[in-house]
Amino acid sequence: MNPYVVLRVVSKLLIPLIFLFGFYVHFHGEYSPGGGFSAGVVLGVGVILYALIFGMDAARKAVPPWWARIGMAMGAFIFAGVGFVSLFMGGNFLDYTALDPNRTYLGQHLGIVAVEFGVRMSVTAVIIAIFYAFAGRERTGDTAEG
């Protein structure tokens, strides 16, 4: 446990806000700078900050390493899956307009948010996985996948 009280208290206060900001960057990324990639980095950094202050064991308890592995793959799966859904709805691959049965611009909104959701998931998981892989090197020797 980190002996610095100020660091602990401040990060305890900040981590929820970091996460909130991460989700804001994702969902507002449709209209403003941001999106899944930057949101994923922000969320991943939130977990890294937690691990730095409260230790690797606490972080591993909060976000188990296998989450990271599943998350990486799930994110890619969601992105490609949106493409396949639009195929089944009668459009071309990744044609968001086809996601709306009435073929309005609503489909574009839906598509971009869903795709960015996948991106965010993958990026968060990759950031955490890289951090775990490096942070856990000494103790177990081989934790490239947790």
């Binding site: 592995r69 799966f77 490609a80 691959f93 968001y96």
Partner: protein, 507 residues
Amino acid sequence: MEPQFLPAAIAAHAPALLVMIPLILSAPAAMITSGRAAWVMALLGVGAALVLAAEIFLATRAEGAVLSYAMGGWEPPFGIEFRIDALNAALLLLLGSTGFLALLFAGPSVADEISRQKQSLFYSAFLICFAGLAGVASTGDAFNLFVFLEISSIATYAIIAMGWSNDRQALTASFNYLVMGTIGATFFVIGAGFIYMSTGTLNMADMGRAIAEMNGNRAVEVGFAFILVGIGLKAALFPLHQWLPNAYAYAPNFVTTFLATTATKIAFYVIIRFRYDVFSIQTGFVTNAMLWVITPLAIAGMLVASTQALFQNNVRRLFAYSSVAQVGYMMLGLGMATSLGLSAGMLHLTNHAMMKGALFMALGAFALSYGIRRIADFKGLGQVMPMTSAAFTIGALSLVGVPFTVGFISKFYLIQAALDAGWWWAVAAILISSVIAVFYVYRILVAIWVTPPNEARKASPKRVPLAIAVPLAILAGANLVFGVWAEPIVDMARAAADAAIAAGVNP
């Protein structure tokens, strides 16, 4: 497009599905932990890609047929376009078929070489690599091509590094490739940037049109030079081949088999595409670059890399150097700037995939049975593993260019093209390089067939698993069958060359 044998609904989306099915299957493959299930998933993905490639190949057989697929419904040239004509259809068919055969071989080979908990991740990375290569071969958008190139490259670095459980040198080999490959990709993207700056478009067909309208733009010429160097690195064009020998020698056997039959081929395709379709009108600069830069390097590669192969003791390293020499043959065909030369290069590309596929797969079978990699350890293999040794021998003879093998066919057409262009010195280089190939192949064949085996090995003959025997037999058989009945491959190469040239003249 006209559906050939698949339902119309699938055939219409074949170009996208070919890339996306392997890509999406890589995600579940990474999530499961069973190596065997991941292998089945990879077989499904690559098998589907093979079927779709066959469909696309048949659909583009008609003269001048081009499949264009607008990704996301955004029409080219603004959106990303997948554009497939006879040239990339041939590449996709080659990628699908050799990928599938190599993957069959992967079952027993990967189970032997890679630790159990890493196998599913390995197959996941392989699927990403495959999807990336298929994407490079299908896309008609220069920046998208760069993205797919990076997708396949990054996955390739990972799967090469997985050879570390056999030999730690795989890690440095992979790291060297990572550094070189990243430099290559950077050069490509700088080149694409120069062209984008001058033409304002990223669609390759549109670029060709815009370049045709300006004559002699220096920025475009610089862009071409950057792209040539960047992709030349990926294609292992001499002297940019330094990453290749170690990467091939220390990667898992399956990875070497797959990369040797596909990765450098796809890079070679990219050069053809840019040379003929994007820059066709800039004839002066581009033709000179081909004549004065690529051709001398091709010939130097044929001679130097073949000579280097003579001095190798590690058999996979030896054939890696031979691969560099073979890239020289293909580049020589490209350098001739004639239709005959280009089709000879394409022909050698296909045939080289067959011979190196058979050779590396046989080496994989030897490694699986006895864990051997050095020529000195190959003594008497002909007596303990006669069928595998026979397949290896067919591949080796094909590499030399013995009549009734595909190697002879491609050298015959290459020499014919060289004579047609009046390049007698190129003919001399081809013959000298072939003679050197005789020497390095001779060393191995003598060890296999003439020297007697040691007693321990005689006492324990090994059976090759069916998953290796079948694809190996198919590849070795293909070397002989297409060596005698060459029309299908020659026609395919000619159609590919014609499509490349036609797309440039009439963009």
